[in-house]
């Protein structure tokens, strides 16, 4: 009897594992909206390690895969700073992560990240994803690529993936501010009405 229960349990475990595999295959690489946000531990420009779990007392976080060199990232730099200024006090600070291979783009080296962070007076961490494992775990494809994370009882949940807004080249011509709208909804206790957007951006420079 006891044996039966164990075999039944292992049967369910196998089914569960199979579903997990199917799930990740169906979504390709990375996370989908509603998935648990993968934890990470990366070095900040100040030399300290930052973990997503450091943020579990906040309402959530705005994770931005970005870099120094990409013209789209540069166009969005001030808007990323503004997001942090607007939402860090409301419980959604920005965490910037540079996933690019610095041997391919020297401008994105750790040293140059430090320079940029101090020039632009980043008040949020600017982390280096040296192994590129975090970008892969999230499924980030380009810079900038945003993941809005909302802390729930079950852990940090990805609630928005995509672009910052609908106009990269002209901040004054923006009509829809996707990240702002998503975070505002979450603060109001609602799910974001738009949870996934696509945007043009620089391909992440992967290691060979």
């Amino acid at each position: 009897m006891r044996l039966d229960r164990i075999s039944l349990m292992s049967f369910f475990f196998c089914v569960f594992m199979a579903l997990q595999v199917q799930h990740s295959a169906a979504f390709g690489d990375g996370v989908a909206v509603g998935d648990v946000a993968p934890d990470f531990k990366l070095m900040n420009v100040d030399g300290r390690m930052v973990e997503l779990s450091d943020y579990k007392t906040k309402k959530g976080a705005i994770i931005v895969f970005t870099c120094n060199h990409c013209p789209y990232s540069i166009k969005y730099e001030d808007r990323i700073i503004q997001l942090h200024e607007a939402f860090a006090p409301l419980g959604f600070p920005v965490i910037a992560i540079n996933p690019n291979d610095a041997t391919k783009v020297p401008e994105d080296s750790f040293e140059n990240m430090k320079v940029r962070a101090s020039e632009k007076k980043f008040r949020f961490p600017y982390l280096v994803d040296e192994s590129q494992q975090v970008a892969k775990a999230y499924g980030a494809k380009r810079t900038p690529h945003v993941y809005v994370v909302f802390n729930t009882a079950e852990g940090p949940s990805v609630q928005y993936i995509g672009a910052i807004d609908d106009n990269a080249s002209d901040a004054s011509a923006v009509e829809t501010k996707f990240v702002r709208d998503a975070v505002t909804s979450l603060i109001d206790g609602k799910l974001p009405s738009t949870s996934l957007t696509k945007a043009i951006g620089c391909t992440i420079k992967w290691k060979n």
Binding site: R142, D166, N167, K198, A199, I200, G201, T203, I204
Partner: protein
């Protein structure tokens, strides 16, 4: 009169057209016998710029066959005269057709190019009649040529 001539010549030489998605779509559907190789690029995108010579070489190699190489720049429209034209002139690309896509809201049109597109460039669409092949490829001359040939073979 000479001013008028200069103005006309200016228009002729400016060469690079600004298109919206509808115009672009009609351009790559003109003939079902023609293979269109549509590459999405920008002057600021390093891997894009690196693979452009392969596209111009493809256009030259198959110049006598029903195929068109269309280089769709995603530079902002205000960079069309400032960056895209000088770049194309400097590179001496004459076989490829070049346009600048003027569609301000990428989230509305990326899926219309192809639902599998993440929005990263370079990205290339091969199209012939109803057959399509899309990918965020990174091509060199050999790889582009073999992809083009196998796509064409499959669509005959």
């Amino acid at each position: 009169m000479s001013v008028l001539m200069l103005a006309v010549m200016g228009i002729v030489f400016s060469g690079i057209e600004e298109v919206n998605l509808a115009t672009l779509q009609s351009r790559i559907n003109r003939s079902s016998d023609t293979t269109y190789v549509v590459n999405f690029w920008a002057t600021w995108c390093k891997p894009c710029v690196e693979e452009l010579p392969a596209f111009e070489a493809l256009a030259r190699k198959y110049a006598d066959q029903p195929m068109v190489v269309l280089l769709v720049s995603l530079d902002s429209p205000e960079d069309r005269m400032k960056k895209v034209e000088p770049f194309i002139r400097r590179r001496g690309y004459t076989r490829s057709q070049v346009v600048v896509l003027n569609e301000p809201k990428p989230h509305l049109w990326i899926d219309r190019v192809d639902p599998s597109w993440s929005g990263s460039i370079p990205a290339t669409l091969f199209i012939r009649g109803n057959r399509r092949l899309f990918g965020e490829f990174q091509f060199d001359e050999v790889k582009l040529d073999s992809t083009f040939q196998s796509f064409r073979k499959g669509s005959q």
